[in-house]
Amino acid sequence: MERLHFSFEGGTRRAGKGPRIVGVVASGNLEVLIEPRPEVSACTIDVNTAAVGFGTTWEAVLRDFFERHPLSHVQISINDAGATPAIVALRLDQAVEALE
């Protein structure tokens, strides 16, 4: 397993309700837990992934995600069992939808 940590500043949308969780830790899939963090302005993302050595790919996917959803005051935690970038992006979007 590999642990990655990312932090995005300058978000403009606070997470709505929460915590919420989407997805399942099955082969090729992931779960995304999204929790409001009123005391921290950043959007922080912790990834625990079975696919080792894909740090740059994760960074790109998460950066794109932050552009779509510039959240602030939120912690996103991921348990990944080898999902493709497309599935990762989908789950992240679903997690944000789940907040509404």
């Binding site: 915590p19 969780i21 399942v24 830790v25 837990l33 929790e35 625990n48 935690s77």
Partner: protein, 292 residues
């Protein structure tokens, strides 16, 4: 989407209980992770593959748990098992109509070996303790992974089991038997034979499943509610009757080599058509042709 089979464990709970009535107990943000999976450098799930909580079902106050088959085949590890045990222990204290277990599990989580075995044993004890305290425990089986291993024993300790045709209930999975005894003993790839051996319709005909429903969350909800209301008996008379039933089963069907043999002996004129019937057709025709 109304299929029970297709839904995740979380989605099944939401679909089965009364709208907006579910309150999760020990939710994922509590991060009760499996230390054993971490020690093996394997992926973990924030809820360790089982969701537990309180809800109402057709107005009845219940506790409910759902196992996520997608995570480690729903297999039971130390934390997963402890969540189920705590939920069942909680049942003894409250004013509850019942505990509902949406079962989907390969049994003991082999990656947690000894801890998993003890966990499953504690779940079995807790199911029986809940029943002994007067709170029925209703199991439902209808997912891709079925209910096997020690959880197959746990299911048999429930007040009643609701199954869909898609569900499977047994002790040793076909792969385990095939590995130990060879493909001639049980070909795990012969799907039709697997379902004739451990599938929902067969279990319903033997009387091991109390209800056979089609693959819809509404059908599961209705059957589970009915099973909760049907009451429970765990006493000497009931178990002596069960002893006679299980003895008679061996006398009557002990020489059968396939589910179809058993169904023929139960009076089905065309046993090979059983898998083709819808749940409704099947249940109607099974009225006079199943063990009670």
């Amino acid at each position: 989407m109304h299929s029970y089979y297709e839904k995740s464990a979380r989605a099944r709970i939401d679909a089965v209980v009364d709208a907006a009535s579910f309150r999760e107990i020990l939710p994922p943000q509590a991060r009760m992770l499996s230390p054993h999976l971490q020690a093996l450098d394997l992926p973990v799930a924030f809820d360790d593959g089982v969701i537990t909580g309180a809800a109402t079902l057709e107005g009845l106050p219940i506790l409910i748990a759902a196992q996520e088959g997608g995570f480690m085949g729903g297999a039971v590890g130390e934390v997963h098992g402890a969540k189920l045990v705590g939920l069942l222990q909680r049942a003894v204290h409250g004013q509850l109509a019942g505990v509902v277990l949406l079962l989907e599990s390969g049994g003991v989580r082999l990656q947690e070996a000894n801890a998993g075995l003890i966990a499953v044993s504690e779940v079995i004890r807790a199911i029986l303790a809940s029943r002994a305290a007067g709170v029925p425990v209703v199991g439902a089986i209808g997912g891709q992974y079925g209910c096997f291993g020690g959880m197959g024993i746990a299911a048999a300790c429930c007040t009643a089991i609701v199954m869909s045709e898609e569900g499977r209930l047994g002790l040793s999975g076909p792969e385990v038997i095939e590995t130990a005894r060879g493909v001639e003993e049980f070909d795990s790839r012969d799907r039709a034979r697997v379902w004739r051996t451990v599938g929902g319709k067969h279990r319903y005909l033997l009387g091991d499943a109390a209800a056979l429903v089609d693959d819809s969350v509404d059908a599961f909800r209705n059957a589970i509610a009915r099973a909760i209301r049907a009451g429970d008996r765990l006493d000497l008379d009931a178990l002596e009757r069960e002893q006679e039933l299980l003895d008679a089963r061996l006398q009557r069907f002990g020489q059968c080599t396939d589910g179809e043999d058993i169904w023929r002996l139960l009076g089905w004129p065309e046993p090979d058509r059983v898998p083709l019937l819808t749940a409704t057709e099947f249940v109607a025709q099974a009225r006079e042709r199943r063990v009670r």
